[in-house]
Amino acid sequence: DQQVKQNSPSLSVQEGRISILNCDYTNSMFDYFLWYKKYPAEGPTFLISISSIKDKNEDGRFTVFLNKSAKHLSLHIVPSQPGDSAVYFCAAWMAGTALIFGKGTTLSVSS
């Protein structure tokens, strides 16, 4: 049973526009949510995280929004750049466990 869901396998955006990647979860006990970015033939790299007690966290062009009542989070990238083209994984964590990842969304940013 999937606890972390990324329902959009792919997203295409033009350079300079906003990219919005979505993630849903089922377990209300998660303490933190994280986003990872992965290029082909490389390991995933940590991008940004948010505590379950917050509703927004911002880091440069990247902002993550959390809606606990809807069990939904989203990653906004503004403005999108061609170098942002990668697979983005949403992950959830609770104390004493390993990260649980979603299936990923492939973002393509065209110039």
Partner: protein
């Protein structure tokens, strides 16, 4: 910078072979993990370890075992490789943080093909 090193980038093995995937981290992290990545399935946890000689099953442990004899090294073992174990294998490590997770540091991955 934390470095997680996986010994092989690409491996080709035959069905039925015993396969060892090695992972070494250089930052004294307590926690180490093995995931596999498959198209359309994301990252799935195979095994993890919170300390030397300790191991916990993840979501898909069948057909795999692990060994952690030293803190810096976490090995994944395919007891008898099968074609459905063809995948990208990713090792990760992180320190013990208590109430807040630090981002995992991943290795570059091992692309295993079983023929």
């Amino acid at each position: 910078d934390v470095k997680v090193t996986q010994s092989s980038r690409y491996l080709v093995k035959r069905t039925g072979e015993k396969v060892f995937l090695e992972c070494v981290q250089d930052m004294d992290h307590e926690n180490m993990f093995w995931y596999r990545q498959d198209p359309g399935l994301g990252l799935r946890l195979i095994y993890f370890s919170y300390d030397v000689k300790m191991k916990e099953k993840g979501d898909i442990p069948e057909g795999y075992s692990v060994s952690r004899e030293k803190k810096e090294r976490f090995s994944l073992i395919l007891e008898s490789a099968s074609t459905n174990q063809t995948s990208m294998y990713l090792c990760a490590s992180t320190p013990t943080t208590g109430a807040k997770p630090y981002g995992y540091t991943f290795g570059s991955g091992t692309r295993l093909t079983v023929v």
